[in-house]
Symmetry: C2
Subunit: 253 residues, 2 copies
């Protein structure tokens, strides 16, 4: 029994959550079931994408030869489908507005007078650490939390992330897309004066059946990554809260 029905001519920017189908919202699940078209990339994961009939879904992620569909083409397809009178779910991993390019899609829809609705999702930088016992904030450890991407080289001048300021701010840092450049940004944080003993954790595919965790410190986490064999997609948690995984894991279900 559905409570929500996707409406004709409307685009829904929907977050799928971190990958566990149980962490879809009720509204997201209903809209996915009822939409004429679900436009997605790979991030929602096989457990969620596998439940959508092939006839109603369109992969706008990787194309043949590893190319990505250009963002401008995704924008145009969304507008065209809505103008054809279809109800469209644009399904994105996590929350549609935490990294990814949901903001740009929204602006394009508004520029073309296409009605849209935003359906927030459970965001991975909170959920992936959360399910393994790492809280984003904690009164004894962190009074703020920052999400940042780790795919830029912090030693390059064009890097838009100010690691020194993040070290200074003193809250939990959660790095998305930060497996490969882990050595560079952990060094940048140490160079900015962050304690090398600061706890760190990597959570690969958090909430997926094959999730993996590696823990260490700002100094040892690169080695821990390699020992456990952490691969993308994963989030890196930096801060006192990252140490809680080892404390509580015995009681985690």
């Amino acid at each position: 029994m559905r409570e929500y029905e996707a409406e004709s001519g409307v685009v829904y920017l929907v977050g799928s959550g971190p990958g566990d189908p149980g962490l879809l919202t009720v509204k997201a699940r209903d809209l996915i079931e009822s939409a004429d078209l679900v436009m997605h990339d790979k991030l929602p994961g096989p457990d969620i994408l596998g439940r959508i009939p092939t006839a109603r879904k369109e992969d706008v992620g990787k194309r043949a030869h590893g190319e990505r569909t250009p963002q401008s083409e995704i924008n145009e397809r969304l507008v065209a489908a809505a103008r054809d009178g279809r109800s469209v779910v644009r399904l994105k991993g996590g929350d549609p507005f935490v990294f990814g390019r949901g903001g740009e899609e929204m602006e394009h829809l508004a520029d073309h007078d296409v009605p849209f609705e935003v359906v927030p999702g459970v965001t991975s930088p909170v959920a992936a650490p959360g399910v393994v016992g790492i809280p984003a904030t904690h009164r004894e450890h962190a009074s703020s939390v920052t999400f940042v991407t780790g795919h830029e080289d912090p030693t390059k001048p064009e890097s838009t992330v100010d690691w020194a300021a993040l070290a200074e701010a003193g809250g939990t840092i959660v790095v998305l897309m930060g497996v490969t450049r882990l050595p560079e940004y952990t060094a940048a944080l140490r160079n900015a004066g962050m304690d090398p003993e600061t706890p760190c954790a990597l959570v690969e595919r958090g909430t997926w059946p094959d999730q993996q965790v590696a823990t260490g410190t700002l100094e040892t986490i690169v080695e821990a990554r390699d020992d456990v064999g952490i691969e993308p997609p994963a989030v890196t948690v930096i801060g006192g809260v990252a140490g809680l995984h080892e404390t509580v894991r015995g009681s985690l279900r």
Copy 2:
């Protein structure tokens, strides 16, 4: 038809999302329906709490005379209920680990060998701005986002939030519990060199039927707050993304 059943003797730390029942996760909804006991405060909101039968719920928020139930008592009640063999949902607004004290509850459960599971929720600092067209991040505006609480006086030495470092970091800032002290921390950010023309928005009760929005800049947002009559609970968004609400609102459903 339920996919998930709460198990006897287990505590589930569950996020209710920002308030719209459609933004409960499938798992949260099933666990709330099947648990022997739902321990909650006021934050999940009337639309969600109203659906839980009185016999199965226990309010551990405000007590008579405006007092709050002490955290130590909540911790003890969770352990006692689980040891009685009951299935317990500890229901928290938003995500259980973004502010609030889910981390401390988790540690207490682990200390007492009570099995627990974390069920992440849609977090309000992403969702409340999101549904009114304000993305947490955007390639043209912000490559990071920080959540921070605004209930401390930034001019006091015991303030744990380093507003100058946050201004320096340059990403989107989302302030929770920051309606009352808006004048103080917007001044702190301006004093730290943040452009007074930086867009700002306040979203009160985002995703609730009576949600309200006020927009302005780091210089004018206090006046906008008073003109619109924004009251807690609300989130404050500071950064270029906050300007997008006015750009897209005509197409927002």
